[in-house]
Symmetry: C2
Subunit: 318 residues, 2 copies
């Protein structure tokens, strides 16, 4: 099988590239390296079945070229910065919605019909139902990020109906693990690295969130591709648990042996559009035989180990 | 109040312009005249409180200029051609999704915070629940049109959360009445006008659809603006009834005194993405005190009267 992975140099994408190569697939990673890292592909690059296209998902010509002869597109490239959406609303529209349209058009032009899409639990907005199932009541969007991913989902579904595509849409909780370089564990670790005696927290620390370990996430995706065969296949991906931001702070500080003063920004939400409670019903993917191997706590600690061993991630940003 | 009506020269938009002028508002109609008609604004044009901007919703600079000093934007401009979506997928993306983003950005830049949006019952795809309420289970999109309107809804909701906008989203069934110039009554009438002895019908004629008379639709919108005051207000708009396409054919042919041979294309759906059953639960808008004055049958007959008196609509297209 020949797979194209957009965002293939990113956190999740580069792990997917490694997994696909390991199982014998031919893999093209497509990434503009705006947040992806060349180093994440060090292992892949030595592989004869691997190719890398340094290009943008807004470049339709390059995308169409990259889709040629491809059996499945894993479309993971995205602006994943939920928090700063309101500072540049056009970014979510362009990098998430329009980019997804470009991927679909590139596939249509090149005869590729199978797409996997990294959506988000944020499409549920602030639901009333927990754990939230895929069939939750028609949600209201509360973030530009969620809105842009919902638009991507809708486009994929319409392409399935209109052009005989087969779509796999995964609504992720936050993903953790090796190569993680964005999100609260990254921010907290980076802050404690600079100043071990204090920690600033957005919101009141009581936001309840779910997290999933990256290899568990990829297990689920590859299993679903193998076992689900509807035209449109939608799965929540998360653990059957959630934690408070404060729990996570406790795990982080005790793992690092630190006792910082914690300062809370206050309020139920960390930022505009932050969802104070994310907890997805993952019964649908579990019914296919999947279950996560790591708990949230284990995922957080695994991530800390990785960050501690890769200080360059912080140096690259400072 | 100063209202901007995008699509103000269109079927629904031009009636809205007339209604707003009649009640004392200042009105700017914004239309690129791609499907809108100058004649629909004949009455408005003589009014001192009326202005017309011939411009496109993809022209951000003109939009921003037009939003200045405006209290509410009625964003009705759209590509409303559901059926031919797959022939040019970029059209729904540009004219519905990106255009809606442009309207929101123009509003943000000019300090306008209230938006009314013409969405569609098509966002429910092919629901399992009839009549379909606003809180139906998270739908799957079955048309590029529906997907593009869903994307517009999500953007508006995110702007309400992110920037303090107030949004009114109306999910329409098909609208009928004077100035109607697109859809099945138009197509059937046009076809019988050319050849009264036969009629070709897409699908098996058993598709069940709902229709609403344009003035009833506008009553509902203006009432909701007056009485609903949440940040995001979503209303289905339709009648509490549906009909088969065959019922509609019966009303049309008997009104015209014709007995054409009817040829069915066959299949449950008239085209790819056609929903075989549209029937919306309008309890939410009814609870505000609204009810439609015309039945579907009365709306169809009113529309035929209008088409018979306005042959130029057919001549303009041939």
């Amino acid at each position: 099988m020949h797979a194209l992975v957009t965002g293939g140099a990113g956190f999740i994408g580069s792990h997917l590239v490694d997994r696909l190569l390991a199982r014998g697939d031919e893999v093209t990673a497509y990434d503009n390296l705006s947040t992806g890292q060349r180093r994440f592909l060090d292992q892949a690059r030595s592989h004869p079945r691997f190719r890398f296209a340094e290009a943008d998902t807004l470049d339709s010509a390059r995308l169409t070229e990259a889709c040629r002869g491809v059996d499945v597109v894993f479309h993971l490239a995205a602006n994943a910065d939920v928090r700063h959406g309101p500072d540049h609303p056009e970014r979510d529209l362009a990098q998430n919605t329009i980019a997804t349209f470009n991927v679909l058009e590139a596939m249509r032009k090149s005869g590729t019909r199978r797409i996997v899409f990294s959506s988000t639990g944020s499409v549920y907005g602030e639901p009333d139902l927990f754990p939230t199932p895929e069939t939750a009541p028609f949600p209201l969007q509360t973030s530009l990020y969620g809105a842009s991913k919902l638009a991507g989902e809708g486009l994929i579904e319409a392409y399935c109906e209109s052009f005989g595509f087969q779509g796999y849409i995964f609504r992720f909780v936050s993903i953790l693990g090796e190569r993680y370089s964005h999100g609260h564990v990254f921010d907290f670790y980076g802050s404690l690295r600079r100043n071990p005696s204090q920690l600033s927290v957005l919101g009141n620390g009581k936001q309840r969130k779910s997290y999933l370990y990256v290899q568990d996430c990829l297990d689920a995706i590859l299993l679903a591709l193998d076992r689900a065969d509807a035209a449109v296949n939608i799965f929540n991906l998360g653990t059957d648990e959630y934690c408070e931001v404060n729990d996570s702070i406790g795990w982080i500080t005790s793992t690092l042996g630190l006792t910082p003063r914690v300062h809370y920004g206050g309020g139920e939400r960390g930022w505009v559009g932050d969802s104070p409670f994310i907890f997805l019903d993952c019964g649908r993917i579990r019914a296919l035989g999947w279950k996560p191997r790591l708990s949230i706590r284990e995922g957080v600690i695994r991530t800390l180990d990785y960050l501690a061993g890769n200080p360059w991630l912080f140096e690259a940003r400072s």
